[in-house]
Symmetry: C2
Subunit: 368 residues, 2 copies
């Protein structure tokens, strides 16, 4: 970071099924809430970055930057950033660049997704836009299928049992009990995970994050100081298609983004107190823990078998909070900041990826 | 500009109907051509920004940042930026911020659109995503209809005749004769414009830019010097819906972006030697000339009635070059740079908007 970037405001809708709210309504609620929490007024916002993946598919709506700017009295310059489920992270990274370049002093970043208005089949097809339409889609695979293949291979390579994998979603559901913004605030015993309907062998329904509506907004500023600031913002990219990779049980983009983020923040992974990671499917949580260096390959499950000093998806993660895809990366920042305020601890990390981690964003927050 | 940003490479496909090329093929051709023209190799590219509007609608493809990065051997960090037909401009602005912030030293910016694979009705519906899906779309209007209303009102307010309006598209077609990348290299006499089929009264088919496939790429660098550099990059936003505005014969976003760009470059509009403006419909060219201060309100047509020292859409503009929407803002930069190299003159300006100018980007290039 060339200049310190402070997190001065946060706001979100509850994640879930909002039948009575449009994409604009969702944005409005999150923006109002972020401005109310910030040490600024709407007029202090110099620029807006909107993260969104499915506006065209589910709401016939592109051009969401201008829509968000229309909700502010002075219509500041705005744009939409997209990288599938990592849209939140690329929007945050863009906002950091706008701030560090001096183009803006206060930037509103809002992630929004409206997914429940169209059929699950159409949403699954839209989400498949995160993979390669020429190389991956023709096989008939959707994302549960891709991660089903990944889980099969991982269980074969590392002798992970189905009972062990159950621990991931069970922990996330347990954590969500105390999060009022979570879509599912319901404890689910570990053995119930693998008893839920099979979606893509070996993954069951309760291994998968749900389809959700929601919006999450943060206000970042170089002008107003705040105890919580962005210590690192890094993106990395891998091949769009998993068919072009040497392995599917490890994601190069996570490794690259993590290494760059730790270097930027000047810390080690053992310094992280709170982690929000991208558990779009239960298996993704384990692979991500390993790729980030929190566990050796094949040993990610150990962090679910017993709790360590670092909290993992205390919010409930994508599984239990819900996963309005482009809002997720922003929501992670909000949750990390809340966790640091509550615990008084210093470093939180948000890990967010798109597709099969073709894009990965890692953001580190520090608490003075 | 905090640090000078140089235009070190440019490349594009011909704009037109590329039945045999996918969105990936189009990107590949433009990227290869930009790298070949640049004083760098693919490995020098630190980041990629992709401008695209209609990937989901026309190609079932989101996540185009990762797709572009997949075409480079080292998969640099990448994201997609979107603001409807101003996607090219917001991508350029994002790239400038990445460069000025120090996050990157060399950025590839590529605009791409694949529009001819689906029916005109579906493309028209997709393009309507640039307007407000709640306020504008329910009326049944599409963009030719919106600009038909704007043209009607303009002709009423300023007594512009249909014969005068013919001069705009006729000039753009004349200019495209010398542009090998233009979709239509065919001179069209002024009187033929208003004899073409009526699309949305008073606009005829030849007042409208076409549906096009195409890609355009530039390489921007703070590291490698080049005689041509970015002197200003500015965005402005207006209400997404035209129903929320005090007038429809002038676009506030153009005025705001232009004023900010002239201030950033430290010049007056009379210093501009070459102009590429956003003539999505003929009437838009006149309004834009007035909003940019090149003519008084109602007098934009005077710049088509006789030629001045400043060239206007020498490339052929959107009308004759074609308008693969997100590629247009990048293609304008390529054309401006070619014009400055040929003429040896100093300042060129690219004006690009999305929707009914809900987002406007103005970029000024200078030639040392």
């Amino acid at each position: 970071m060339r200049s310190p970037i402070y997190l001065t405001g946060t706001g979100q809708t509850r994640f879930g099924e909002h039948w009575d709210m449009s994409i604009k309504d969702l944005m409005e609620e999150a923006i109002d809430s972020a401005i109310e929490s910030a040490q600024c007024t709407a007029l202090d916002i110099d620029m807006v970055v909107v993260a969104n993946m499915l506006g065209e598919v589910a709401s016939d709506q592109a051009h969401l930057g201008a829509m968000a700017a229309s909700l502010l009295p002075h219509h500041p310059p705005a744009l939409r950033a997209e990288a599938a489920c990592a849209s939140g992270s690329v929007a945050l990274h863009t906002a950091c660049a706008l701030l560090e370049s001096g183009k803006a002093e206060t930037v509103l970043v809002i992630g929004v997704e409206k997914m429940t208005d169209i059929s699950p089949a159409k949403i699954a097809a839209g989400l498949m836009g995160a993979a390669d339409a020429e190389k991956d889609a023709p096989s008939g695979l959707t994302f549960p299928g891709i991660f089903g293949l990944i889980a099969s291979r991982y269980m074969h390579e590392f002798n992970l049992t189905r009972e062990q994998l159950n621990l991931v979603s069970a922990r996330h559901h347990e954590n969500a009990m105390s999060n009022p913004f979570a879509q599912f605030r319901k404890e689910i015993p570990a053995e119930a995970i693998s008893m839920s309907p099979k979606v893509a062998d070996p993954l069951c329904m309760l291994d998968c994050s749900p389809i959700s509506d929601g919006a999450a907004a943060v206000i970042l500023s170089t002008k107003k100081e705040n105890p919580i600031r962005i210590a690192a913002s890094q993106l990395a990219t891998d091949t769009l298609s998993i068919t072009d990779r040497p392995t599917i049980t490890s994601f190069a983009a996570t490794k690259d983004a993590m290494a760059a983020a730790l270097e930027e923040a000047g810390i080690n992974q053992s310094d992280i107190d709170h982690l929000e990671l991208h558990d779009c499917f239960s298996i993704a949580a384990l692979i991500s823990l390993e790729d980030m260096g929190f566990a050796n390959p094949g040993e990610g499950i150990s962090l679910y078998e017993k709790k360590g000093k670092m909290t993992i998806n205390q919010s409930g993660g994508l599984k239990a909070c819900g996963h309005p895809v482009a809002a997720t990366g922003i929501k992670q920042i909000i949750d990390i900041s809340k966790q640091m305020k509550r615990s008084g601890r210093t470093y939180g990390l948000a890990h967010n990826f798109g597709g099969a981690a073709a894009t990965c964003g890692v953001h580190i927050l520090s608490h003075a």
